[in-house]
Amino acid sequence: MTRRFMLFVIFLGFVVSAWSVRTLAQVTSDRLLRASEESQNWMTYSGGYAGQRYSLLTQITPANVKNLELKWILPNQVFGAWQSSPIVVDGMMYITQRPNDVLAVDAKTGRVFWQYRYTVSPDARVCCGANNRGVAILGDSLFMGTLDGHLLAIDRTSGRSLWDTAVGDPKLGYSITMAPLVVKDKVLVGSGGGEYGIRGFIAAFDTKTGKELWRVHTVPGPGEKGNETWGGDSWKTGGGSVWVTPSYDPALNLTYWGTGNPGPDWNPDQRPGDNLYTDSVMALDPDTGAMKWHFQFSPNDPYDYDSVQVGVLADINFKGTPTKAILWANRNGFFYVLDRTNGKFLLGAPFVKVNWASGLDANGRPIPTPQPEGQPTWPGVQGGTNWYSPSFSPRTGLMYISAWEGYASVFKKEKAEYVPGRNFLGGGGTPFTGVQGAPGVRVGRATPVNSWTDAAGNGAVMAIDPLTGQKKWTFKQFDVTDSGNLTTATDLLFTGGREGYFYALDARTGAELWKASLGGQIANGPITFAIDGKQYVSVISGNSLITFALRE
């Protein structure tokens, strides 16, 4: 090879990398099965079917994390909380923004290839903002649920709609805010609307055609097992919404769905019984929808303690026995370890102050201790944790959660009348502050001045040992946090909070290693990926999607 030719080859290589060609290799279901092993990608909501939000990437370490620098910012074009979690496949990032837009972004530069805009029907009703938490991918298609209860497939190269299936009636409050889950050749979603007296369901659709293949109600009808846990006709408006992406165990062929509150939210007298399968985890066969087992965290719930969290699949050595576990930090303030093969309760312990129950019995059922009228209940209405993505590191063996400490609400119940498409609440919960008239913690942070202070509750990242249920360490924040969590194979934990600080912590000790003051509240979880050998970390703060990498 002549020297000139070698130079030409080097030059050619340079040109190709400068072009940064995004080869859109097929995303097969086999690739999705091994999504967490493709460390350069982040192909599902939680970075892999196990729901661990754990990355094998090792370029960013505790020693060099202080050298992270800003690479790009993508501003949101619409206002309101940005709860979406991006996916990244072979250098392409796909992110949703309000109300139901999808953006295809060059993950290296933050520049946008295309924007898909879906016009939401004015019939759409959503309790808590025009939220969407992201897309799923298979083959050449992206899948997104909509606020008006549709499921869409979008061509990942052209950004054009491939099919559009009506899944639930928006006039009755059905909506889809979760990122769908793709399993094999099916795309699975659940319906939101737990504040509108819906009857929740989970359904599977053909990824090619959008044809519905099965549907399972989270609230069983007459003749179905579990219907006896609903007095009278209360099952008809029983709630049980689903709005966070489930985890999936391919070996057991089970998907694990967290379900939301029963309807009406705060008046259990209108729905006597345990109200199965609300506030539960349902283990469903993704091929048929058949339920293998269920576990209910909060029977006959009067507090709106949705069990809409990501159940984290972890293989642990529980009391000396290798155990296929599912780890669950619940909105009701308890941390649970269940056997994910059969739903058996293995362990439960509160991770924040709890006074609605004195504890859990041998089967994991709470022993209720309702507080007198007007008295505070811990945890408050937003819960000890909520939909904020947890993380699990197989290296440390610890589960990482975002929690609200010292946070309570005063609950009251009222009679709720069901009017189709209207709020069906039956009371409410007012954040407790200890000082009458003082502002309480809000559902989201809308102001840069924290006028509620830690007197109304404070945020914390907690590392919980699933073998004991005990906290290994706690990283306290002054304001509460809705941030998701991300761990890496270098024992870094990335997290944030409402104050807009983005942190890298030592996953073993909780020590703060690095922080950036991004300003806007951080909701949902950071992700990490790599392009051309460089590791990136992306996080949403306020109305900006911000991406960091090490200084060159």
Partner: protein
């Protein structure tokens, strides 16, 4: 509560006017809405407004209905108009009966406090007490007059419900909002800073110090920080008569920065 009767009659008359009337409601300040309207307003609110504005009325950015922070409205009439006409590209127009509208406005103006039953006296007399016997202006500032060490009260009439105001006058420590608590910070270099807390997060705290300077402190530079739960303000229960307190509340309710 005799002071309410004439106003009520007035409201009734105004409500008979055609809906085009921008004159719909011209009540001066809260505390003048009937308990009945406030109670009914909570029901209408839950049915119509809750979904977007939330239980505490603060779910839309820049708006805090309970504390009187609006984007467009100042007067009750503005509020009513926003409700009935909606906003461009935002809130839909609500078709409500005049009585429903009155009730919702009452509920909003009462700070969502359906239990409010506070005695509200004469604002002019209250002003005299505020500026004289009460010595309130030794610490508080109103419309550009007075020191800044205690919270500025220029818009307290829209920021606080009457019951909350009454408690703050009678027992200031019970009513002291956590954010306003006095802080005493000793820096690592030994310097001491005293003041009132304005904002705080995990890593920093912002205060107004005794010399009315805005100070931002990074917590890692702090040796100790004490946040007192006791207010520096004297309790006026016993210092002022019940009638004087009612007058002061009436005056405070007129303080609405326009």
């Amino acid at each position: 509560m005799p002071f309410r009767a004439p106003l009520l009659a007035f409201v009734g008359l105004v409500l008979l006017a055609p809906p085009a009337g921008a004159q719909l409601l011209t009540i001066d300040h809260p505390g003048q809405y009937t308990q009945e309207d406030i109670g009914r307003g909570s029901l209408f609110y839950n049915g119509n407004c809750f979904a977007c504005h939330g239980r505490d009325g603060d779910q839309i950015s820049g708006i805090d209905l309970r504390r009187g922070q609006f984007r467009r409205s100042q007067s009750d009439e503005d509020l009513a108009q926003t409700i009935t006409r909606g906003t461009p590209g935002g809130m839909p127009a609500f078709k409500l009966e005049p009585a429903e509208l009155t009730a919702i406005v009452a509920y909003i103006r009462a700070g969502f406090d359906t239990s409010a039953s506070v005695k509200v006296g004469d604002a002019a007399k209250g002003r005299a007490v505020f500026q004289g016997k009460g010595e309130c202006m030794m610490c508080h500032r109103v419309a550009g007059r007075g020191p800044r060490s205690a919270p500025d009260l220029s818009d307290i009439g829209i920021a606080r419900a009457p019951a909350v105001l009454e408690r703050s006058v009678r027992e200031p420590s019970a009513g002291l909002l956590p954010i306003n608590r006095p802080v005493r910070i000793v820096m690592r270099d030994g310097k001491t800073i005293r003041g009132r807390r304005l904002n705080e997060d995990t890593h920093t705290v912002q205060i107004i110090d005794e010399k009315e300077r805005l100070v931002s402190v990074v917590k890692k530079d702090i040796r100790s920080m004490d946040v007192a739960k006791e207010s520096a303000m004297p309790a006026y229960a016993g210092k002022l008569t019940d009638g004087e307190i009612a007058d002061v509340i009436a005056y405070l309710l007129t303080l609405r920065r326009q």
